[in-house]
Symmetry: C2
DNA sequence: GTAGTATATTGACAATTGTCGATGTTCAAC
DNA sequence: GTTGAACATCGACAATTGTCAATATACTAC
């Protein structure tokens, strides 16, 4: 529909890669960068998504959707909802194996997120 | 009412100090710690609050409430609302000077938040 | 005391979000 | 082709959130 932006193809980790260039303590954070940063924090602003990230941080292998339902006590659509939100924020990787969808923590996600908070990030 | 917890006294930075002990990548994050961590991220999950933190990060002196209204384009009650939310999360310091209320970024707030994201934080 | 000013709080409202049942999609196995 | 299974999407709903006008609170100056 809208050919205005070239950013629609992957969508994965677009938020994070956009936000990682504008640290919280940068000289000046404009409207758009503030929205990008807020979207990033919004991805972690839910207890269930925090636990998902924690589970993935302790897993040495990708985890499929059905594995989250029991420990989180959530229905399958709800788990998909949270995983999609984390994936769209660029924090998770998605891998399709047959009918299964395996999610894993993006390798540099947490480190880059920490860099956003680094006071030195804006003025090296 | 509930004498079960001793955490009710200050409220200021209780969230942060509680969450900083439970990094995202800790061996296991339970329900309560997940809520504490999510509350912390929730504080930054809004563009206006991101800009407030950014403005304070670049200010070498505390800033009073009225100074935020114009750059953010928000009414005074809305500014107070956001400042209170950041303050309750332990990210901001509040200092009363006469009728004015001066807010400043908590010295170690961002650094401790970054520590929450540090993968080494849980298993040194 | 009164008047004026800076913040906080309240009340109401629109917008967003989390949740789940029901329905689609997509793949493997037959 | 059909069936079954895993996941995504849709629709609806309750709960939360951001916003501001109106009001309350607290302080200074008179």
């Amino acid at each position: 529909m809208s050919p205005a932006s070239t950013v629609r193809s992957t969508d994965t980790q677009q938020r994070l890669s956009a936000a990682c260039c504008y640290p919280l303590a940068a000289p000046e954070v404009g409207r758009d960068q503030a929205v990008a940063l807020a979207d990033l924090f919004k991805a972690l602003a839910d207890p269930n998504r925090v636990r998902i990230v924690n589970l993935l941080a302790n897993a040495d292998e990708p985890v499929c959707v059905c594995e989250f339902m029991e420990p989180l006590g959530l229905a399958q659509p709800t788990v998909s909802f949270h995983l999609a939100k984390l994936h769209r924020a660029g924090l998770l990787r998605r891998e399709q194996r047959g009918t299964w969808a395996y999610y894993s923590l993006h390798p540099t996600a947490l480190a880059r997120l920490a860099q956003v908070l680094d006071p030195e990030g804006g003025t090296p």
